[in-house]
Amino acid sequence: MKEVLGDIERWRRAGRRVALARVVDVIGSGPRDPGATMAVNEDGEVAGSVSGGCVEGAVLTEALGVLEAGEPRLCTFGYSDEEAFSVGLTCGGTIRVFVEPLDW
């Protein structure tokens, strides 16, 4: 969170809406611990990360969707269930990422 505060503040000052994505659960091998944070603004600019680069693209899409809908989402990214999840982690683990509008 700390490392993205500067970008969040800049975006808020510019009147941009912001979504926050945070890793809340890591099951098995995962690149980043719970608390890893990625911030996205409504123009699609990104700060921070939630993995080693594997799922950031998908999280960006989810974050823009969350800003559009105004509702938070809990997203699961994993290797274990290829039918359900098109985006996986190369390290074989599963992460759950909570994506929410920064409206609180």
């Binding site: 969170m1 809340v24 659960d25 611990d33 719970p34 608390g35 509702e71 938070p72």
Partner: protein
């Protein structure tokens, strides 16, 4: 002030704060007592923010659930652990109706480096990369200057033991004391004082011969064997480091290795030659992030 601003300000001021977010309502069809018609369920995204000495901020909409979350958030402040917990919708234990993500923001850990030498400048640099607040301390005002250690958050001119006594209560398992003076008249009091604290890592620089002599002097000074094992000396992992920068990496690598239980009995191993998970959970506390 919004919840976000409260969290932001605390993080920036390097004060302790915990943010708990309700991230999931499980399927009400699977709940032990299904929700009654018209029952208002806790809202996903609801937050409780807890700071020491202040009333919790925010609500899930259920006062009992709020109370339980705030209590567990307090515990997270102590342990520094970030993760999810499950509760009933009124905060009951052993139920999985709501999932709450509890995130503890701890102030950065502290590294105190004794000795205003070249190795210190390099160690301060690497420690900053790892997220430490870095204090350099030396009794000699000519050497202990901010200009020589621009990466240090603070440069203190003092005798090591005197300085340690002033911060002893603040030092905990996440913190580190590195004694780089390799001069017995500074080393011994510094190590003796550091052993009186709860500091998690205590390393002392010097050759094997220097360290053997130091160990003898520490025993003479009344340090008991069970405390001596806390002193990592010669400091650092055995990676063949030579320059101040390489030595700094070796010291920081040792700190990381000890956090997960220490390097193996055979010394440093490469990932190629080792087995088991690449990412290991810290035994004690999570490190800086």
């Amino acid at each position: 002030m919004s919840l976000y601003e409260a969290v932001r300000d605390a993080i920036r001021a390097e004060e302790e704060v915990v943010m708990a977010t309700l991230v999931e309502l499980t399927d009400p069809a699977e709940w032990e007592i299904p929700p009654a018609g018209g029952e208002v369920l806790p809202r996903v995204g609801a937050k409780i923010v807890v700071r020491p000495g202040q009333l919790p901020l925010g609500t899930t909409g259920d006062a009992d659930l709020d109370r339980v979350i705030a209590r567990d958030a307090w515990a997270a402040l102590e342990s520094g652990l970030t993760g999810t917990r499950h509760y009933g919708r009124h905060g009951q234990a052993n139920q999985r109706e709501v999932v709450v993500f509890v995130e503890a923001f701890a102030p950065p850990p502290l590294m105190v480096i004794f000795g205003a030498v070249d190795f210190t400048a390099a160690l301060a640099r690497v420690a900053k990369i790892l997220g430490y607040r870095v204090v350099v301390c030396d009794a000699r005002p000519v050497f202990a200057t901010p200009a020589r250690f621009p990466e240090a958050d603070e440069v203190v001119v003092s005798w090591p033991d005197r300085y340690l006594d002033t911060i002893a209560g603040q030092l905990g398992p996440r913190d580190a004391v590195c004694v780089l003076t390799h001069d017995p008249k500074f080393d011994i009091p510094a190590i003796v004082a550091a052993l009186r604290t709860r500091v998690g890592y205590l390393g002392a620089m010097g050759s094997r011969r220097t360290h053997a002599e130091r160990t003898a002097r520490l025993l003479e000074a009344g340090v008991v064997e069970s405390d001596l094992v806390r002193v990592m000396g010669p400091i650092g992992l055995d990676i063949g480091a030579r320059t101040p920068e390489e030595t700094a990496i070796s010291i920081c690598a040792e700190i990381i290795a000890l956090r997960v239980g220490g390097p193996g009995p055979a010394g440093v191993t490469s990932l190629r030659d080792s087995r088991g998970p690449i990412h290991q959970d810290a035994v004690a506390l999570s490190g800086p992030d």
